[in-house]
């Protein structure tokens, strides 16, 4: 064990990082797997699979009570993302009936399929379209509204604050505006929850108003913290995952043809694409007691950043990690995190991605993205994906 603090220059909020985090990860894993950076008031960066795994699995030593995003977003508490055990498990158990595989398969998936149909109909009727704005963005947002029980046609009001937060930099005027939008979102969720108390329906919001935390009812602030998490977790992330997958399959036509010919590969392929480019590159924990990670002493009170994106490319776990191998198995990637905080919406996300990609490959198999018109994010601090993917139905042939 060493008290040394090997310092690296690491800033995951930069444009260079958003463009190519992978070379930074490879260098960190090889040269400095437990590194200290002075960026954003200083934090430890974990890039190897085993170290990330160990920290993510130990919620007693590594708390989620403070924000798990660096630098803090100040969007307020998100439950149970910012809950430690034992409350974490109690909240998750409350939410589970609306996130279980059975619920997703039986109730949500048919509605997702309808949404995908409608959006693809519209896309097929137009010459040019945007695979993010017209497809990957609205469908997860509307699915999240469906789940919570919010009006489907008001999805933009929810997605706007989420995207405004994830595309802005901490301390910027844009972030200040984004935070005002989040205040509005929280107020709207509070209002809707109150309405559900009077007029219950068959939705997640109603379920939360009736749920019990041990021997008491959930408080209104807890309900809003949970509903806000569902909005933040359900929209930007799945959108990013689908945008990354569509761009990858635009560039790798061999992989696309294979998936079209062998649709039974799709489920494995989705896991592989999530491993390759996870929409959330990392989350932070606060150290609650002096500890040792990867042979380095880390004192209580400091912050650790777990790089899911780097763990997913760790050559000691994934052979040929920088290649997309559609039928890779086993594939113990961490795109949804690992341990007790693992993404509660993973079943929903998988269903959305499966239906969205499957239908694009079936109905729009020759899509071409106009790469010179696409818009990338200028920061990957919160999510890693594309903002705009203008596209056409097929490559133009010479007239």
């Amino acid at each position: 064990v060493t008290d040394e603090r090997p310092t690296c220059t690491f800033d995951h909020t930069s444009a260079e990082f958003a463009h190519d985090p992978w070379s930074t990860y490879a260098r960190l894993r090889c040269e400095c797997p437990v590194a200290w950076t002075e960026s954003h008031e200083g934090f430890w960066v974990l890039s190897r699979y085993d170290d990330v795994y160990e920290v993510a699995r130990d919620d007693e030593t590594f708390s989620s009570d403070r924000e798990v995003v660096i630098p803090p977003t100040c969007v307020g508490k998100l439950v149970p993302l910012n809950s430690d055990p034992p409350a974490l498990q109690i909240y998750r158990r409350i939410m589970m009936p609306f996130f279980s595989l059975q619920y997703v398969k039986g109730t949500l998936a048919p509605r997702i399929a309808d949404l995908v149909d409608v959006h693809l109909d519209r896309i097929l009727a137009s010459e040019r379209f945007d695979l993010v704005r017209d497809f990957a963005l609205p469908i997860p947002a509307m699915t999240t509204h469906e789940l919570l029980g919010l009006p489907l046609d008001e999805w933009e009001a929810s997605v706007r604050p989420v995207e405004a937060i994830s595309t802005s930099h901490a301390g910027s005027p844009e972030r200040a505006e984004a935070l005002e939008l989040v205040t509005g979102l929280r107020a709207r969720l509070a209002e809707e929850a109150e309405r559900r108390r009077r007029e219950p329906r068959d939705d997640l919001l109603t379920h939360l108003t009736r749920a019990r935390f041990e021997d008491r009812q959930l408080r209104s602030d807890e309900i809003v913290d949970m509903a806000t998490l569902v909005v933040f977790g359900g929209m930007d992330t799945t959108t990013a995952a689908v945008s990354n997958a569509l761009l990858y399959l635009h560039r790798d036509l061999e992989a696309r043809s294979r998936l079209i010919a062998e649709p039974e590969l799709l489920e494995n392929a989705i896991e592989e694409l999530l491993r390759y480019e996870p929409p959330v590159q990392g989350f932070a924990r606060t150290v609650t007691r002096d500890c040792v990670v990867g042979g380095r002493a880390i004192p209580a009170g400091e912050t650790i950043f777990m790089l899911w994106g780097s763990a997913n490319r760790d050559e000691s776990v994934f052979p040929d990690p920088d290649a997309v191998i559609l039928d890779r198995f086993p594939n113990r990637h961490m795109a949804f995190g690992v341990g007790a905080h693992r993404c509660i919406g993973a079943n929903i996300a998988r269903a959305e991605i499966r239906i969205m990609l499957g239908e694009v490959l079936r109905r729009l198999p020759h899509y071409r993205i106009l790469e010179n018109e696409m818009e990338a994010r200028s920061t990957a601090a919160i999510s890693f994906g594309k903002l705009r993917l203008p596209a056409v139905q097929r490559a133009r042939t010479a007239a």
């Binding site: 589970m96 595989l101 198995f329 086993p330 690992v338």
Partner: protein, 64 residues
Amino acid sequence: LKVSVDLDLCQGHAVCVRVAPLVFDLDEETGQSVVRIAEPASADLADQAELAAEGCPEQAIVVE
């Protein structure tokens, strides 16, 4: 062959349900894996169970 799931580790990734749908199911309330066939007799199911153990992200499946 005996299959079991360590519920302290299982977080409901559902890889096992995908790989071995006859051997595993998910508990609707907890989201965790449930073993449906604890002692798979056919070689096919046994192979699936081994694959599920290999693929489990939490290494929660024990096949002994």
